[in-house]
């Protein structure tokens, strides 16, 4: 997966996603944004298709709830369309939409605080064959399928124990493979803050999941 722009962005470590998400042409994106600003919904439909999976995934990993992620991701794209007039092009459209989705999600999570309920997506078929996971599971238990589901629940529960900014940094970096610079731009903070939050979040996760890690 290559980010929206510039073309020199590095590849995040997610080969599966890379296969299904070809690199968007930045020139095309600019043109699409221009047309969408004039009210061209077909152009905006193209933009939505480009980023829907990543936006959905970010919101889903933050909420650990499919229904909430569905609503929030859709609302983020709707809000982005309504606010297109204010998009100055200082950052890429992709970063801008990301920021909208992240802000919307954090606001939602603040309201939801005490009624968090997991509604997890199913693991895809490739999970059982992921070399990292195979290695991890085989060291712990031979009952691979059950353990994967159990691990999924434990991992999501541990993620939910993190504060929103820490969960967001782990999601964007360790799950989605964004660079520190991109995360800093999305979160509106400096790179040092991103690094320190990432370190702290990993420490917390490691403590919560110590039973499942060597």
């Amino acid at each position: 997966m290559i980010m929206a722009e510039p073309a020199s962005r590095k590849l995040p470590p997610n080969p599966d996603q890379a296969a299904q998400d070809p690199s968007p042409d930045p020139v095309d994106e600019t043109e699409l944004v221009k047309r969408a600003r004039l009210g061209d919904l077909e152009a905006y439909d193209d933009l939505v298709r480009r980023y829907q999976e990543r936006i959905y995934a970010t919101v889903y990993h933050m909420t650990a709830n499919h229904e909430d992620a569905n609503d929030l991701a859709q609302e983020a794209f709707i809000k982005a369309f309504q606010a297109l007039k204010s998009f100055k092009g200082g950052s890429s459209f992709y970063t801008w939409v990301y920021r909208i989705a992240v802000n919307k999600t954090i606001n939602f999570l603040k309201q939801r605080k005490n009624r968090a309920q997991l509604s997890l997506d199913d693991l895809d078929f490739n999970a059982e064959h992921d070399p990292d996971l195979v290695a991890l599971i085989s060291e712990r238990t031979p009952r691979r399928e059950i353990s994967l589901l159990e691990l999924q629940e434990k991992l999501n529960a541990a993620m939910q124990k993190l504060s929103e900014p820490h969960r967001l940094v782990v999601t964007l970096h360790d799950v989605q493979g964004l660079s520190h610079e991109e995360i800093a731009e999305i979160m509106g903070c400096n790179i040092g803050t991103v690094r320190s939050r990432l370190f702290y979040a990993r420490q917390q996760l490691q403590a919560h999941l110590s039973d499942y890690l060597k």
Partner: protein
């Protein structure tokens, strides 16, 4: 001693475990309908947005739209803005109300804006202004309602009143 930066392998196991998150996928075909749903929801909202006069106004003045959205989200700022606007209006009203009067005048001095006529009127004679009915050029003098007023006609035969002397007998 605490370390600020972790060693590369410190979180290796954790990062392996986090790889599991990438395999969590929504139901098959979910993304086939996602953008369609977004566009449908936009379409439902768009006609309303277009026919609203306020939105049409904001489309012409995007700066005002941004100001409005800022005020909408910050009630404190909106309150301060409202107070400031009220203050400006009140100040403007007061200033415009006082601008027609000459300060420190012992009697009411009316200055019609369209002409340069200057009329001195005694407070007791409000309502009876005989000099306005006099023929042009007639000189009025005395201790009545109007003490000393010279009225003359200008080039276009319009009466022109001018205060030339103002003396009150008996020290009044």
């Amino acid at each position: 001693m605490s370390r600020m930066q972790p060693e590369p392998d410190d979180f290796q196991q954790l990062r392996r475990l986090l790889a599991l998150k990438r395999h969590e996928q929504p139901p098959p075909g979910y993304f086939d309908h996602f953008s369609r749903n977004v566009i449908a929801r936009i379409r439902v909202g768009e006609p309303l947005r277009q026919v609203t006069p306020a939105n049409r106004f904001f489309l012409d003045f995007p700066l005002l739209e941004r100001l409005w959205s800022t005020l909408e989200t910050k009630p404190l700022l909106a309150g301060a803005f409202g107070v400031a606007v009220c203050g400006f209006l009140t100040a403007g009203f007061l200033l415009s109300d006082n601008s027609g009067l000459v300060p420190n005048a012992p009697v009411g001095v009316l200055m019609p804006p369209e002409t340069s006529h200057l009329v001195a009127v005694h407070p007791n004679s409000v309502g009876s202004m005989p000099f306005l009915d006099q023929a042009p050029g007639m000189l009025l003098s005395g201790t009545g309602a109007v003490d000393t007023i010279q009225v003359r006609a200008d080039l276009f035969q319009q009466p022109r009143a001018r205060l030339i002397n103002f003396t009150l007998p008996n020290g009044n």
